[in-house]
């Protein structure tokens, strides 16, 4: 997922798009498959998708931009999501998030200067009885305090 990865080839993109075309409503699965492979939905994929689904490129972009998940450029090497929703707020998630952003010197959606970590807000991870909750890539973490957060960030190389 690193930023220096070479741009995906048209061939790779076409293969991934083709692998989802048998599905009913294949567009979201296509976006997910591309993002799993390349860390984002590469610009070059839009015309390929438009062509395969017989819709306009603007429509493809319109769908993609509707969803918080899909990225136009890859995130940092790790994505740390911090829950901002009510149950986590009830146990201090706001303050935890504010301190974390300050420490990293980034805003929400920002990436640390060394490219190691992108910080995203998330609205509930289903860990509401053990908040504040966070997720590092796909790994869930509960009862996050400053010490736990520092450890997670250090492990992620922030």
């Amino acid at each position: 997922m690193s930023l220096s990865q070479p741009a995906p080839s048209a061939e790779e993109i076409r293969e991934i798009v083709a692998s989802q075309l048998h599905l009913e409503g294949p567009l979201l699965p296509i976006f997910h498959a591309l993002q799993d492979a390349f860390g984002c939905v590469p610009e070059g994929a839009l015309p390929v998708i438009a062509d395969a689904l017989n819709i306009t490129r603007a429509e493809v972009h319109g769908v993609m931009s509707f969803y918080h998940d899909f990225r136009e450029v890859p995130a940092g090497r790790h994505v740390v999501k911090i829950c901002r929703a009510e149950a986590c707020q009830a146990v201090g998630a706001d303050a935890l998030a504010a301190r974390t952003l300050e420490k990293l010197g980034t805003e929400w959606h920002g990436t640390t200067a060394n490219g190691a970590v992108t910080i995203e807000p998330v609205y509930c991870l289903g860990l509401c009885a053990c908040g504040p909750a966070a997720m590092v890539d796909n790994k869930v973490v509960g009862r996050v305090d400053d010490a736990k957060m520092a450890k997670l960030l250090a492990e992620a190389g922030a």
């Binding site: 979201l28 918080h68 009830a90 289903g126 860990l127 509401c128 053990c130 908040g131 869930v140 009862r143």
Partner: protein
């Protein structure tokens, strides 16, 4: 020796994987014969990782267990919680939907069957579609996704629709803060959801199902995908469901981080590969749903309750509950809470009993200030309203809603103006953009609350008017119900809106 360590996300988030690994390693080092089984969670999250050791058929609990506790656990020297099923939080529950969650190995179909699984589907196979739908109607089951619409009536509409293809769509978008019951079912008893969807398919004549599962739940996605593969391999899904001669198969589809896609028509658009814009109703999804075909859209809990209704009978299920709220509700207790987790009980328990007795009040030990029930669109209730029984109509009368039954507890450090502002901010971030009162109104709402925070009391009537406009002019409950948390905060906690004024003067 059998040792159970949950694979549920909440348990993992508190270290269950590390504990399971340490138990296996320590047992191997000692040459002990230990089988580590990864079960779902029992739902007592404050005890996670809750490890259970099978002692002559009784499961004895230990928790929370850390990696450092593992040697003592295997020495038999760790203090135990006693038999898990005797722990009061669990013993007080009526578990119908959640009967197997935490008990079985979620991906072991034989274990599932040994605990009553597939009995409901087998019974349904011997029934006609109309009989299946009638059984659901008779059970009194109402949709657990939020609106509480009678499930049998919805199924009957789809049954009566003529079409070459019908669909069952499971709404597993579970976006409400304070809710995790769908996740617990999918991680802890995935075959139950699959069985419920298969019964729905047989009932209404649908041969294809989808689970629209939020991307924020990677563990649930993995368990569900594996469960579908195993169910297909075992002939529970496929062209000939359990030898019935009838076909039903399903797929897992992953959402993409939009809260509004939990709204059923937005979900259907998303599933079709479109922007998740809410559709006007009519047409009902039951008549023109996925790809324009008749579609049952039901919440995970609604569908996962279907097997027990068929296993034990509609009358058994309808025998629990209060008034028109029949059966049991898996209530999720979260936030600043001492004993947080999943508590399934018959409808009717007063909110205060849940908060103070079952959940033990706040984790901080400070007084309870407010309780938000029903997710980000639910009202903030004041302790003065704690005698409200947990039921659809009862909460409606109290100016709230039970929604997906998330109960989020706040202590007296909560600032209700800030919570009202957050409700507006959330609506602005998540609005699908179709109606102006929601899209623009929520942004104005944030600004108006900021003015109140700066001491402009004159902005309070503006906020009230704005909420009226949002209620009246919104197509769906995102814009239409955001006024619930906002106005309940303002009405029940006026000091938080006035104190700000003094502070600013």
């Amino acid at each position: 020796m059998k040792i159970y360590v949950p694979l549920d996300s909440a348990a993992k988030a508190l270290g269950a994987d590390e504990v399971a690994g340490a138990i296996a390693a320590e047992a191997a080092a000692r040459g002990m014969d230990v089988q580590v089984i990864r079960n779902g969670t029992r739902g007592m999250i404050w005890l996670e990782p809750l490890v259970e050791v099978d002692q002559d058929g009784t499961r004895v609990g230990y928790g929370p267990v850390s990696v450092e506790d593992v040697p003592a656990l295997l020495d038999g020297k760790l203090a135990s919680l006693g038999p898990v099923e005797d722990i009061p939080f669990l013993a007080k529950q009526t578990r119908l939907t959640f009967a197997r969650v935490g008990v079985i190995d979620p991906l072991d179909l034989a274990d599932y069957e040994a605990h009553g699984g597939l009995a409901g589907l087998r019974r349904a196979i011997a029934m006609t579609g109309a009989e299946i739908v009638k059984e659901v109607t008779d059970s009194g089951l109402r949709g657990r996704g939020g609106a509480g619409f009678p499930t049998g009536i919805k199924w009957n509409t789809v049954l009566g629709a003529e079409a070459d293809q019908k669909y069952i769509v499971c709404n597993a978008d579970e976006g409400d803060s304070g809710t995790f019951a769908d996740r617990m079912v999918m991680e802890g008893d995935p075959f139950c959801l699959i069985e419920g969807m298969a019964i729905a398919g047989l009932g209404v004549g649908a041969t294809k199902g989808y689970v629209y599962l939020r991307s924020e739940y990677p563990d649930a996605i993995a368990v569900m995908e594996e469960a579908v593969r195993r169910a297909r391999a075992a002939g529970v899904l496929g062209a000939d469901v359990l030898g019935s001669g009838k076909g039903f198969d399903m797929e897992i589809r992953v959402g993409a981080g939009a809260y509004v896609c939990g709204e059923e028509t937005s979900l259907l658009n998303s599933l079709e590969g479109k922007r998740g814009i809410v559709r006007a109703k009519p047409p009902l999804p039951a008549l023109e749903g996925f790809l324009g075909k008749p579609t049952v859209v039901n919440n995970v809990l609604s569908l996962a309750t279907v097997p027990v209704i068929f296993e034990k009978g509609a009358a058994h299920y309808a025998g629990f509950g209060l008034g028109r709220s029949k059966g049991t509700m898996p209530i999720q207790i979260a936030g600043n809470v001492k004993f947080g987790g999943l508590f399934e009980t018959a409808f009717g328990m007063p909110l205060g009993t849940l908060v103070n007795e079952v959940a033990g009040g706040t984790a901080s030990g400070r007084p309870v200030k407010a309780v938000q029930v029903g997710g980000p669109l639910g009202a903030y209730l004041h302790p003065d309203q704690f005698d409200t029984p947990f039921g659809y109509e009862e909460f409606d009368q109290a100016g709230g809603l039970i929604g997906h039954a998330g109960v989020v507890i706040f202590d007296d450090s909560a600032d209700m103006l800030k919570m009202a502002r957050f409700a507006m901010e959330f609506c602005a971030v998540e609005s699908c953009g179709k109606c102006t009162p929601c899209r623009i109104g929520a942004v104005r709402g944030v600004e108006t609350i900021d003015r109140i925070a700066e001491g402009d009391a004159g902005a309070i009537p503006l906020l009230t008017d704005l909420c009226e406009t949002m209620k009246d002019g919104s197509l769906c409950a995102l814009g239409g119900f955001t006024p619930f948390p906002v106005m309940s905060a303002l009405t029940h906690f006026p000091d938080d809106f006035a104190r700000q004024k003094e502070a600013a003067e």
